[in-house]
């Protein structure tokens, strides 16, 4: 037996490996990314970054239907993108196991919303397993594989930020062989034309309820006996808070959070005096328990953010540890673009042009932060192009002469392609700025179709963004080095003036993937007039002296020279000066 300390996400990957999974496809997204990154090291598994989550789910579904065990991984909002596979995959069922691993982000540590995967799963009639720590992540991943095959259903393992990114000890079990079922053509099961789908739907509830029986057989739900006074129903990370907050409580920890087993819940409810439900986000368990006619109260009624030991004790009127007050006026320290980040130059130009910027999701979303403040919207991945197009429809051609869509390279392949095609088709006059830094930066530098490398590190032919845009009918495609700010400004102005969809590709690699750094730049204090233009770039390497003149922190500066280009009096010099 191997005993190691693993992140919840690593435990999921090892669970998949030891469950005989042969195919794992994913699209990066915090807090789920490390699952695929860990699996990439397994020689016996086919792993990949798909272009987006629905492709990852389709790849996994194809493997499953063919007879292999397959997994796809994503963050919670990725399931919106992949939900078609989930909803109809519940009708078809599987051949080899098909498991979705979905990582929710209560508290929105790194997400654009706080949606609850359990509700989507309930709507799709798909079983959900929810582990509380790395050991359970490993165990439940293996059970999710077995359950999928036993119930002829895709299954979901729901992680949350705190289970994905906590490290604890895991005992791995014996690895199961990579079992493959024979492929058999079965049109009634796999071709979801209306008549077949209608037939498959009649089997859906039975297959779903079989998951509850499977859970009972395999002891997925556990009861921790207490004094019988207070009973708390909970699952996942919340069950660790509950057990720590109220050691004397009776606790029903659900390993299977959809569907619930009525008999089991009823028996637990009858064994305690007062029944509570503790859960983060939506009242999913609460409503399910109440639907059985059982009286219970929620621990948390805010339905926002994370629970904690403290919140649970407070809700039950128990004492909490004394704590020092917080300093309310401390300088905030939000995340920001790195020193030398190529995105900064683009936002400098857009801010100078007072452009309306329909943004997208990635590191470049940080261009919305002061002092650049050069982004007006960020909604969901790929929204920039459609929104810029829609704004022109709403406000007229002149509006398009002052607005741009800004989208990253990874985001472009994720969901920008269809937006671009649609804009061209509908004769939009949108200007699209693709900020190509050669990586999927925000999630920790993963490769994508334009980088020329796969998840496994294999060199492949990169797909050229400029060729794709031209092929999709863009009226013009200009490739610009963003540090040439004058050229960038001209490119955007020209794009605004011409009719049709114009693309400007801002191309310079992310400073975190370019290992080489140039010598730091220096400010000549005799020349500096303290105008603050360089400070307005928001570069973390730029500071102000007490006399308000600029100063460069040479440890942080990577020598991009953008500040020297914006200085009106040539007071900043670099290696060439």
């Amino acid at each position: 037996m191997i005993k190691t300390m693993l992140l919840g996400n690593q435990a999921i990957a090892y669970g998949a490996l030891d469950a005989g999974v042969s195919v794992l496809a994913a699209y990066p997204g915090t807090p789920s990314t490390e699952i695929a990154e860990t699996a990439a090291g397994f020689e016996t598994m086919q792993t990949q970054w798909a272009a987006n989550e629905i492709v990852a789910a389709e790849v996994a579904m194809g493997a499953s239907v063919s007879g292999a065990r397959a997994v796809c991984c994503m963050k919670h909002v990725g399931l919106n993108v992949a939900s078609e596979v989930l909803f109809t995959g519940a009708y078809t069922g599987v051949n080899g196991a098909m498991v979705f691993v979905v990582a929710d982000d209560p508290g929105m540590h790194s997400s654009q919303n706080e949606q609850d995967t359990r509700l989507i799963a309930a709507a799709a009639h798909v079983p959900v397993l929810e582990p509380a720590d790395s050991q359970q992540a490993y165990d439940f991943m293996r059970l999710a594989v077995l359950m999928s095959e036993a119930c002829d259903m895709p299954t979901i393992v729901r992680m949350t930020t705190r289970t994905s990114h906590a490290r604890s000890v895991v005992m791995r079990g014996e690895a199961w062989p990579q079992e493959k079922r024979a492929y058999e053509k079965n049109v009634r099961k796999y071709v979801m034309a209306p008549a077949n789908a209608a037939f498959r739907k009649t089997t859906l509830q039975d297959r779903l309820m079989a998951a509850a029986e499977f859970a009972a057989e395999h002891g997925l739900n556990t009861v921790h006996k207490g004094s019988g006074k207070i009973g708390i129903i909970c699952a996942g990370i919340v069950s660790t808070y509950v057990k720590e907050a109220v050691p004397e409580a009776d606790v029903l920890q659900l390993g299977l959070v959809n569907p619930l087993n009525e008999k089991e819940i009823l028996a637990f409810a009858q064994s305690v005096e007062t029944l509570y439900v503790a859960e983060e986000l939506e009242p999913h368990l609460l409503n399910a328990v109440r639907s059985f006619g059982i009286v219970c109260e929620p621990i948390d009624t805010s339905y926002i953010g994370e629970l904690s030991v403290r919140k649970i004790r407070q809700a039950l009127g128990l004492s909490v540890p004394q704590a020092l007050p917080a300093f309310t006026d401390l300088a905030p320290r939000p995340p920001m673009l790195c020193a030398g980040c190529p995105h900064r130059a683009v936002f400098y130009v857009l801010s100078k042009l007072k452009a309306t910027v329909f943004g997208d999701i990635g590191c470049y979303t940080l261009g919305s932060m002061p002092p650049l403040s050069a982004m007006d919207t960020t909604l969901c991945m790929g929204a920039s192009i459609g929104m810029a197009h829609g704004a022109e429809l709403g406000m007229g051609r002149d509006f398009a002469r002052k607005s741009v869509a800004v989208i990253g390279d990874s985001t472009f392949f994720h969901s920008g392609l269809s937006g671009l095609a649609s804009a061209v088709y509908n004769q939009a006059n949108t200007t699209v700025v693709i900020v190509d830094n050669g990586t999927t930066g925000m999630t920790g530098h993963q490769d994508n179709p334009a980088t020329g490398k796969t998840l496994g590190g294999e060199e492949v032919t990169p797909i050229k963004i400029e060729e794709v845009c031209a092929a999709l009918g863009a009226r013009s495609v200009r490739v610009v080095d963003p540090l040439n700010i004058d050229e960038m400004e001209t490119a955007i102005r020209q794009s605004w003036e011409e009719d049709g969809v114009s693309v400007v590709i801002s191309r310079r690699p992310c400073v975190m993937i370019v290992k080489k750094r140039e010598p730091a730049f220096k400010v000549d204090p005799d020349k500096c007039i303290a105008c603050g233009r360089c400070i307005g770039l928001g570069c973390p390497a730029l500071l102000r002296e007490n006399n308000r003149k600029a100063m460069i922190n040479s440890d942080a500066c990577i020598g991009c020279g953008l500040c020297a280009r914006v200085c009106p009096v040539n007071s900043i010099g670099g290696k060439n000066q």
Binding site: A166, S168, S308, R333
Partner: protein, 187 residues
């Protein structure tokens, strides 16, 4: 024991937590480490929770429950003070990392951080000592040395845990960083 490691993205808090996780296992303790990945790493505040106990349930250190706050940046020690147990220990690097909100004049860096931290605080010239050991990047191991001495932990096991967790080429440098930190308390 609850150890809250706080700092700014890119300072090596995660490696420090990993060393402590390794140490706890060597001491036969249950341990959970909770990390921050993703967005917060772009120069934002980062916090890593390390809990070692006979059995650990929640992976998080909440208000009023940290035995120790290990701060890699001075102001960050102040920010996380509400997590400290009453009478708990603060080990803080003197080094300042000024956020852009201060550079832009929208906010102020606190003038006297020391006056705002509890009496039970150990100040460390972390970057200075790390440079002596060979690289500013070893500041985290300097702080680990201070912590090991101040909390009376097993020095040999901690050194082994460091060896286990860092790349072989950095072993010697980290060992001397540890020694400098450890010595800074006894002196």
């Amino acid at each position: 024991m609850n150890i809250l490691i706080v700092g700014v993205g890119g300072q090596g808090t995660i490696l420090t937590a990993r060393v402590l996780g390794e140490y706890a296992q060597r001491m036969g303790l249950d341990v959970k480490v909770s990390e921050v990945h993703g967005m917060a790493q772009r120069g934002g505040c980062v916090v890593t929770h390390v809990r070692m106990e006979k059995t650990v349930l929640s992976p998080l250190i909440e208000e009023g429950t940290a035995d120790v706050i290990l701060a890699f940046e001075a102001m960050e020690a102040m920010r996380w003070l509400p997590r400290l147990k009453m009478g708990g220990l603060v080990i803080a690097a003197k080094d300042r990392i000024v956020p852009p909100s201060v550079t832009n004049g929208q906010a102020k860096y606190p003038e006297n951080v020391a006056a705002n931290l509890p009496e039970n605080t150990i100040w460390v010239d972390a970057v200075e000592l790390a440079k002596k050991a060979g690289s500013v990047r070893a500041a985290n191991i300097v702080l680990l040395g201070v912590f090991t001495a101040a909390a009376g932990l097993d020095q040999e096991q901690m050194r082994q845990a460091i060896v286990q967790s860092v790349r072989p080429v950095f072993r010697e440098m980290n060992d001397s960083a540890f020694t400098l930190g450890y010595g800074a308390v006894n002196a």
